[in-house]
């Protein structure tokens, strides 16, 4: 009896899977063969297939159906995320500009790394890469070092006005960049900081410092106060306690925060654009320059885009375990 049921369930699951796969195959075949397969047929077949798959598997093993359907749906999510980036930026950068004339290609007809070589002949782009590396690294380090002290004070020291300081960190973090930038430009002009690397670094520090402080406060609040007290009873000063107890215990959070600051600064366009006149191009505004509607060369733009993406993608993937902290504090950054 139960065997017959099992067999029916298995049949359901398999036919569901076949329906999903078949519909996808038919739909995609239209990219290569010219024949009409109506959208509604695809949608109906896929939904019906997913339902069959879910029901069938759930009969075999409770909870299994949802997992299988989730795996299928996750594939769609990945496609939506990866296809534009993979096809346009990665594969697109390998095309030659003449390939644009023969219509849009997914696979470059004659893949070449030409565009990457050419990138370095565009002065403002190679300067932009260099400046962005300098500014983002310096700004991330300066902001993190300053915030280490400030955040420790807010998280561990009891002093009058502590709440107010904490709230104002939050408030300042919320401020829109433009509100800061308008007066900053007027002030920087007085001090001749516009279009200089120090000015650019200061601008970026102003941009990321509140967020970095806020993140580190939440990290430090997670440190067991007893450990710090123990160190203090052993005669460690506040500075020693910070250096020898609090910082070692929160290295992942601090590293994540620094990475986060770097990514924020690297991706930033508004400040980089406005604080630059002619001598300190940054990477993000340089890419916008390449997007000029008349002179743009798409494969070149893709190559520049990939170069600009590689550092942040590597950092994000390396730090992904810490970017989503699933434990006690549960903060997402």
């Amino acid at each position: 009896m139960s065997n017959a049921n099992d067999r029916r369930a298995r049949l359901r699951a398999w036919s569901g899977a076949a329906l999903v796969a078949g519909a996808a195959g038919l739909e995609l075949s239209q990219l290569f063969v010219d024949w009409p397969f109506p959208v509604w047929a695809y949608v109906v077949a896929t939904v019906a297939g997913l339902v069959l798959l879910w029901r069938g598997l759930d009969q075999l093993h409770i909870g299994m159906g949802a997992r299988a359907v989730a795996a299928v749906l996750a594939l769609f999510v990945v496609l939506v995320i990866v296809v534009p980036f993979g096809v346009v930026v990665v594969l697109g950068s390998l095309q030659r500009p003449v390939d644009l004339l023969t219509g849009p290609h997914v696979i470059p007809p004659q893949p070449t790394l030409d565009q990457y070589v050419r990138l370095f002949n565009i002065a403002y782009l190679s300067e932009g890469i260099r400046n962005s590396l300098i500014v983002s690294t310096t700004a991330a380090i300066v902001a993190t070092l300053l915030a280490l002290l400030g955040a420790y004070a807010i998280a561990s020291l009891r002093f009058p006005g502590r709440r107010a300081v904490y709230t104002s960190v939050m408030l300042i973090y919320m401020l829109p960049g433009i509100a800061l930038l308008v007066p900053l430009v007027a002030i920087f002009r007085t001090f001749r900081l516009i279009d200089t690397l120090p000015g650019m670094i200061l601008g970026h520090v102003a941009l990321i410092l509140p967020l970095v402080t806020w993140l580190l406060v939440s990290a430090f609040e997670g440190v067991e106060p007893d450990l710090e007290h123990a160190a203090r009873i052993d005669g460690a000063g506040r500075f020693d306690a910070l250096r020898r107890v609090v910082i070692p215990m929160t290295v992942p959070s601090i590293a994540t925060t620094a990475v986060f600051a770097f990514v924020l600064s690297w991706n930033e366009l508004l400040f980089s654009r406005v604080l630059y006149v002619s001598s300190t191009p940054m990477l993000a505004p340089s890419i916008v320059n390449l997007m000029d509607p008349i002179n743009r060369v798409e494969p070149q733009l893709s190559a520049a885009g990939l170069v600009a993406s590689v550092p942040v993608l590597i950092l994000a993937l390396v730090m992904q375990r810490y970017l989503i902290r699933g434990r006690g504090e549960g903060a997402v950054i």
């Binding site: 739909e27 239209q30 990219l31 959208v39 795996a71 996750a74 999510v77 995320i81 990866v82 534009p84 997914v106 300053l146 002290l149 400030g150 004070a153 020291l157 002093f159 939050m170 408030l171 300042i172 919320m174 401020l175 829109p176 433009i178 509100a179 800061l180 930038l181 308008v182 430009v185 007027a186 002030i187 200061l202 520090v205 102003a206 402080t213 939440s218 203090r232 005669g235 460690a236 000063g237 506040r238 020693d240 690297w266 991706n267 508004l270 993000a284 505004p285 890419i287 916008v288 390449l290 893709s302 885009g305 942040v312 993608l313 994000a316 970017l323 699933g326 006690g328 549960g330 997402v332």
Partner: protein, 310 residues
Amino acid sequence: MSGAEAAVRRGTWLSRLPIRRENQAYAALFLGPTFLLVLALIIYPLVFSVSLTFSRVSTLGGERSWVGFDNWARLFRDPLFAQSLGQTVMYVVPACILAVVIGLAVALVLNQDFPGRLLVRASLLIPWALPPVVVAAMFQWFLDGRRGLLAPWLVQLGLVDKAPAFFTGVPGTLYTLVGIHVWKTFPLIALIFLVSLQYLPRETIHAAQIDGANAWRRFRYVTLPFLLPTIGVALIIQLLVTIQLFDLIFALTGGGPGAYSTYNLYFYAFKTSFEHTNLSYGAVLAYVVTAIIVVLGVVLTRGGRSLRLS
């Protein structure tokens, strides 16, 4: 020297103060550098900005003259201000709804246990980490009418009859930007929901399952109520981020096509300050954006408290 003596000596002179004094001294010492920097780079500029709004200043420098409330009064007879404000809403509403709905759906899918799930989670970080200008450049080509891939795909798959024009319509172009913005932001929202779902007690779900509740009912009566506070947080984050949408507009449309059809308030403030070189009116517009954000932020998050999940 005995060990105990050495231990006492190790602290600095500050540690020998009474505990409360010591706390305050260290707080001043540690907060000092940050405070000075914030004072110079954030608070002073903001205060200075008030004086900007009452004078006429050009980005190019030159004479500065006092004009009283002229700049503020201009808001009320500036049709572009009203238009930008309206278009800000046109950006915010669909971007919030779409990103939260899609983010929630994706989180529910990725919360299941299937092989390769960590890989999918990792791929969520791609749109989040990519520089917005790269996303802009990527979609500029992907959606291009003649050279792009998406339009011919849509036609070949039979989803549309003729290639849609993504960057020429009014107000269509604004919604193209919304779509790109959602592509970039839904993964973070999904990650927020995923973290929250980790705290959903499995026993409750199991109990509902044993009681015969189907998947929809389990979602509707167990998961959704549990996630409600997180949905609020996600909406607020997305709201604040979308009001400040700038990079995509700057890189992709420059505010066009047509008569400023993709301006939002933030972009208008930028244009006024740095391309029409009117820092004073730009400061007024920036203050309006700030007021909207701070009021919404403070009211909706009860002073930032609800932004801290857990």
